[in-house]
């Protein structure tokens, strides 16, 4: 008996993988059905669904990048404190004194790459007409994922707390004060008042909600940190699960009828 077979016959192995090695057709089907990670897939698919020249693999790459961002992000969280006192120096230390100090690089470039791949994925889905019935709703979920991907990137941009960070966020969030009705410099904000008192002011408008303060400051850092590390990733992860589920329920990757 070879070593490989010995291991595969052991009680431990069998308790983990509940079927023989996927050498024959039956077990190749069983492996996908019984493995938690593999069961995201159907058992069999059309050849065209995995053709690189058809899907460009962009959805898959986006998902991979999301995972890579999660892993590197968790590693970064071990070192980073979202306070005015520490944020910048922690990032500096990440580069200079941390073992494997390229996690920040991977996280940042991965984020840029994810924005690009998510666009390209949308581009591909559009160009193959895959948003057409019955996949309309999955496209809608996709658009929400696109927004969330951009927001993930945007909230993360602030965390290094350098000049690039706060001014980019300042420019971006300044728009919020012009929100119609809800921004204190937006058209129609005067309409929202109660007995002559404006409801929408500098300290109660959409921008304030976003920043937690009148200017980009420590409250903003905290807010963006939580959005970036907890809130948005959770939503994205759930939506990705639904997105994948729908890909299967809508009949797999689109193909000519």
């Amino acid at each position: 008996m070879s070593v490989g077979d010995y291991i595969r016959e052991s009680q431990i192995w069998k308790s983990i993988f509940r079927h023989p090695a996927p050498y024959d057709r039956r077990n190749r089907i069983v492996v996908v059905l019984t493995n938690f990670f593999l069961h995201l897939h159907p058992v069999s698919i059309k050849q065209n669904g995995i053709a690189l020249s058809y899907t460009w693999c962009m959805g898959g790459i986006t998902f991979f990048l999301f995972l890579a961002e999660t892993i590197t992000g968790v590693l970064l969280m071990f070192y980073y404190r979202p306070t005015l006192e520490w944020a910048f120096t922690d990032i500096l230390a990440l580069r200079d004194v941390t073992t494997l100090g390229i996690m920040r690089e991977i996280h940042r470039w991965g984020a840029h790459a994810m924005v690009i791949t998510v666009w390209l994925h949308m581009y591909r889905v559009f160009l193959t007409g895959s948003y057409k019935p019955p996949r309309e709703f999955n496209w809608v979920i996709g658009v929400i994922l696109l927004v969330l991907t951009l927001l993930l990137s945007f909230t993360g941009y602030l965390l290094p707390w350098d000049q690039l960070a706060i001014w980019a966020i300042t420019v971006g969030s300044n728009m919020a004060r012009a929100t119609p009705f809800l921004g204190h410099e937006g058209p129609g904000y005067q309409l929202l008042n109660l007995g002559g008192y404006d409801l929408i002011t500098k300290v109660s408008d959409a921008r304030f909600l976003l920043l937690g303060a009148r200017e980009v400051g420590e409250e903003t850092l905290n807010r963006f940190y939580i959005l970036h590390c907890v809130a948005i990733p959770l939503v994205v992860a759930s939506l990705i699960a639904i997105h994948f589920w729908r890909v299967r329920k809508d009949g797999g990757i689109s193909q000519p009828l």
Binding site: K132, S153, D162, Q190
Partner: protein, 444 residues
């Protein structure tokens, strides 16, 4: 020549040598491919006539590249005498073209139209390869310019440069596949996607591809992370405003709109409309064809509108915002120094000032009366234009879509057109606002 901003330095020349080396290797590989696939060509009688493999041209080009590479590796010691760089008489006209937003937008528009009109000729492998080489050569040669390196070499801009090539490639790939299917359709054949489309098992075919893909991508990310350090500027300071202050690059399209529209439109309404429009898209497009395969002919209108939004309006504006917008949000050429003191006269006039001034009258004090012409125009644009279009160009659409769907569709198209329209009005009439009621922050 060696001032504080030298165009060429020994390390630049040496570095460019590596880029040429890569280009050379790529073209050697292409020569081999061409030899196997491209067949023969007639030689001009100047060269003695007769036939030769088409790959001969690529071979000659590769040989030239090898010499250029060699020159870079050996000639790096003496930058002042080094000849291979972009001369000023080429830089100046390029700068003049791109530094003017009007010309820039005009050029992107022309490229966009060119892509669609010449899609058959452009989407062949040889044409694609020529375009790629031209783009790379342009990039490498431009690197011999100091100011170009400053802007393109910014770590956060590197992914954008890469994105331009990637978007270009996939656009090419799309047209390549679409042309093939369109030709097949003309012959009455089904799309290529329906050939060899048997069922296969996920294990091993898909699972293994995923594994390989994951390993390759991990390696790629590590490589990128080691080669290029993530940017970190000075610690944040709320008093030192950088000039220009730019939003993250993927929002630069929105920031560019701020030049033409107020924040409530450019920053809030239009983004919402873009997203709402994207979500509404599957419910608007009633064309059943082109589902699950690449085609252009069967969905000309949908694809053209989408490409127009994605290429000139979105990617084009990102290019403009990233590479051409400098201090005070002025436009600069790609080889131009970002001079903080560059002045551009801004003398924009509101529609109401044109209108009442045209009658020789003073501006009415009541803002609503003052802005009547602009308000009427805007209402007409949003309310009557859809009807007008329904009676003319969009006749079949209006008929087949039904009222609600058509109204959503036509308003989306009109709002998308609102950006180029305002641009043109600004450039031709120096129009500031169509409706200007700053009292209520209501400016259009």
């Amino acid at each position: 020549m060696t001032g504080p901003h030298p165009n060429l330095t020994p390390s630049v020349i040496f570095g460019l040598g590596f880029l040429y080396l890569i280009l050379f290797c790529m073209n050697v590989a292409w020569t081999v491919r061409s030899y196997k696939k491209d067949g023969e060509v007639h030689l001009p009688s100047l060269l003695g006539g007769g036939h030769a493999p088409f790959a001969l041209w690529w071979g000659l080009y590769s040989a030239l590249l090898s010499m250029v590479t060699f020159a870079h590796f050996t000639g790096s010691g003496n930058p002042d005498q080094f000849l291979i760089s972009l001369p000023d008489f080429i830089k100046a006209p390029i700068d003049a073209l791109v530094a003017d937003p009007r010309l820039f937008f005009g050029i992107t528009l022309l490229i966009f139209i060119g892509i669609i009109v010449f899609r058959r000729r452009l989407a062949t492998p040889t044409a694609g390869w020529i375009l790629l080489n031209a783009a790379l050569l342009f990039l490498i040669l431009s690197m011999t310019d100091y100011d170009f390196r400053q802007i393109v070499g910014k770590p956060d801009n590197v992914p954008i440069v890469a994105m331009l090539f990637i978007v270009g490639f996939f656009t090419w790939l799309y047209f390549n596949r679409a042309n093939e299917n369109d030709e097949r359709a003309a012959k009455g054949l089904p799309p290529k996607e329906s050939e060899n489309n048997e069922k296969i098992l996920v294990w091993p075919d898909l699972v293994y591809s995923e594994l390989i893909c994951m390993i390759a991508l991990t390696a790629f990310l590590f490589f990128w992370g080691v080669c290029l350090q993530a940017p970190l500027e000075e610690p944040a300071s709320s008093v030192k405003t950088p000039n220009p202050s730019k939003a993250p690059w993927y929002f630069l399209g929105l920031q560019e709109m701020l030049v033409y529209y107020d924040p409530w439109l450019a920053g809030v309404v239009f983004p919402s409309v873009i997203l709402g429009g994207l979500m509404a898209l599957p419910y608007i497009d009633f064309n059943k064809k082109g589902n699950g395969y690449y085609t252009f002919n069967e969905r000309k209108f949908a694809v053209s509108v989408f490409l127009f939004g994605f290429l000139p309006l979105w990617v084009g504006m990102i290019i403009l915002g990233t590479f051409l917008r400098g201090p005070n949000w002025n436009t600069f050429g790609i080889y131009e120094f970002w001079d903080v003191h560059k002045l551009e006269a801004l003398n924009n006039i509101n529609l109401s000032e044109y209108f009442w001034g045209g009658f020789g009258m003073a501006l009415p004090t009541n803002p609503l009366i003052r802005e009547v012409p602009g308000i009427m125009l805007t209402l007409a644009y949003l309310v009557f234009m859809p009807q007008l279009l329904a009676a003319t160009v969009f006749r079949t659409f209006a008929y087949r879509m039904g009222f609600l769907r058509y109204m959503v569709f036509s308003n989306l198209v009109l709002l998308m057109a609102a950006l180029p329209i305002k641009m043109v009005l600004r450039w031709s009439l120096q129009l500031k606002y169509i409706v200007a009621i700053p009292e209520y922050f209501f400016n259009i």
